[in-house]
Symmetry: none
């Protein structure tokens, strides 16, 4: 019976994967269920065995894809030796922006829902592991740096909203500036946000603690 379960899982994944390809290629609105199942090599009816409708699939996909964005940034930082919470956050932001610049279709798909996946867990049990992982990493790094933050959620929320929103304008639309031009300012704002809402430890020891 494990065989059937595995087959089902595979079909689910195939459907998600194929749909994402088509959504980024032709856009969500112009992608039909037929397109998806045709490319996935499945029957139309099968789609409805796995998803309520196109919107259900899209929402699952947005959460999954935003989660991956954070996950990739999270994984990338693991290999580097980046000291200090602030620098880590900026690295993550840069990494995400880099991903989105390379893949504007992904950005268009996620649109301004960057923060969605991250804060779903606040209310629901079913945390998407990917974004949940990043969220825990975020809290952990604060702790490691002995940073005291009364409202870590609000700080993260503010940063993500700002990044997501400005990315959309700078990369996709004719925002007032290009992402390249905007980046230094964005960095500065993020630094300010972190400075204002967190209390850095007084002494300098933390630097040595941070080393890993």
């Amino acid at each position: 019976m494990g065989k059937i379960e595995r087959k089902k899982k595979l079909k689910n994944t195939t459907l998600l994967q194929t749909a994402f390809e088509l959504f980024t290629e032709k856009g969500f609105a112009k992608t039909t269920i037929s397109d998806i199942v045709n490319r996935a090599g499945l029957a139309k009816g099968t789609f409805y065995l796995y998803f309520k409708d196109k919107y259900d699939l899209r929402d699952q996909l947005i959460i999954h894809k935003t989660g991956q964005l954070f996950l990739r940034a999270h994984q990338a930082i693991a290999g580097r030796n980046i000291h200090g919470f602030e620098n880590q956050m900026l690295f993550v932001v840069d990494h995400i922006i880099g991903d989105l610049e390379k893949d504007p279709a992904l950005l268009r798909f996620i649109y301004k829902n960057l923060s969605w996946g991250i804060f779903k867990h606040t209310f629901e049990q079913t945390m998407t592991s990917e974004s949940q992982q990043f969220y825990e990493y975020y809290l952990e790094q604060m702790k490691k740096d002995h940073i005291v933050c009364e409202e870590p959620d609000i700080v993260l929320f503010t940063i993500i909203e700002l990044v997501g929103s400005t990315c959309c304008s700078c990369i996709l639309k004719e925002g007032p500036v290009s992402m390249e031009e905007y980046l230094p300012y964005l960095h500065q704002v993020i630094r300010q946000i972190l400075t204002v809402f967190t209390k850095q430890p007084v002494s300098g020891q933390e630097e040595s603690d941070n080393t890993f």
Copy 2:
């Protein structure tokens, strides 16, 4: 023949107005051209005399409605005696948020396109007078306060994106916090942004005025 001109203008306005009602009532996707012309009391063909398609109408409407949002805030401030650029900006932000809280349907319609109207003019001639007025007011107030700002566009852009984006999450979605809870933090971030990217005049005369 000014009479004909006036009639045309009226039809245009009626169409915009009716469409907005329907968009906020039933959502953009679920509103059909038929719905619009039926309620407007016009013929289907007439729609195409005034707009290219539903998307054209929507875009005009978003720009118009975001413009009005800024215009109303701008007009509201005129009656008050609010000193200091920062306080003025915060008043404007609060006023806009107040409007959006009262009318979530409007927020849903504008979605995260708050900054759209304001920066259209950067590239196009056809500036919507409403948002353009606010933009000029913004620059003027900076000048009045002898504030030096190298990139006023970027500052404004950052603030508007942040406000628009967080409004959507806090008011429409189950954002991590309610707007009420978030507002103090939003204020603080905006103040920081203004502080960092502008240079206040050296002398302290105004400073004392600003104190409240």
Copy 3:
């Protein structure tokens, strides 16, 4: 503008006619809107300009077709010299049964809704002229024969229900007997019904009156 009206009327009729052909050929359930508009040479959307859906069309058609059944019987009797109300009624019944025997597909379509069209008018203003004509003829003939009937509706209703129902069983289903065998019995029952619920004039003068 009469031209457009005429065109609309024509399309409505074409749609009704074509649908009836298909309903009797393939049955109601197996006939699709596509079938209908294809054969009618019209566009799919046009169908919905004239009918709410397939069921709306069917109901209009049943009323129309039952009406015609009565109308044809009514017209046929005009040419004959049939004396006496009872004989006239039996002629009408026989004529209708004859039509239905010749066209079992029509019978299958009308199914057991023979009485529908006749008694719609009791409640609605919009009487289908065809069946309404017959109803008036029915009352008129009673009057001419000086027949007193307290509940002419109930008498007619009983007869029509009996005829419609037994026709279905004898012609379409494997009723206990064939229509041919059943007919004499049916006649006798109808005669009984008329005898019991009406009061014939006492004297024999009426015979001469009836002559036309």
Copy 4:
């Protein structure tokens, strides 16, 4: 292995029972095989082990349910002391009408197929015991009352068709009259039919009883 037989019988009954519930709740057309097996707690494939398709199931059900209608009337009469064939027939008719008035959903389901179950046996071996029982009771009672009837089938057929057909119109549709108003007339017609097609025994004892 009577156990297996019993299990199969149970599933068959469950399926019939569940389907009937759904047919009367949502109508035949709107009830799907999925609906039926879901509520019955069986697998989809199992349905096809017991019935050819939905129509097969429906037909079995109509015959069964019409049979029960006659059976219940038959059982009810057993407890009473109703003398005379005519009175017995009227009691049966009233009992059936009573049942149908209490359960219009059942009437809608049976529609105008009341006579179906009764006369199936004329051709097929597989007589549904329920309706067959009534048929035999009907013949027996005639005999008991020394009633001579040349075509008992036709008499029964006429009565059942009339009852079924007028019930549908009076109870379900906006027939020209309500069932309550129609009932006396229906009784009279049935009495007439019995009178005309049967020969009462010469001796007058019962005759006087019957007269009312």
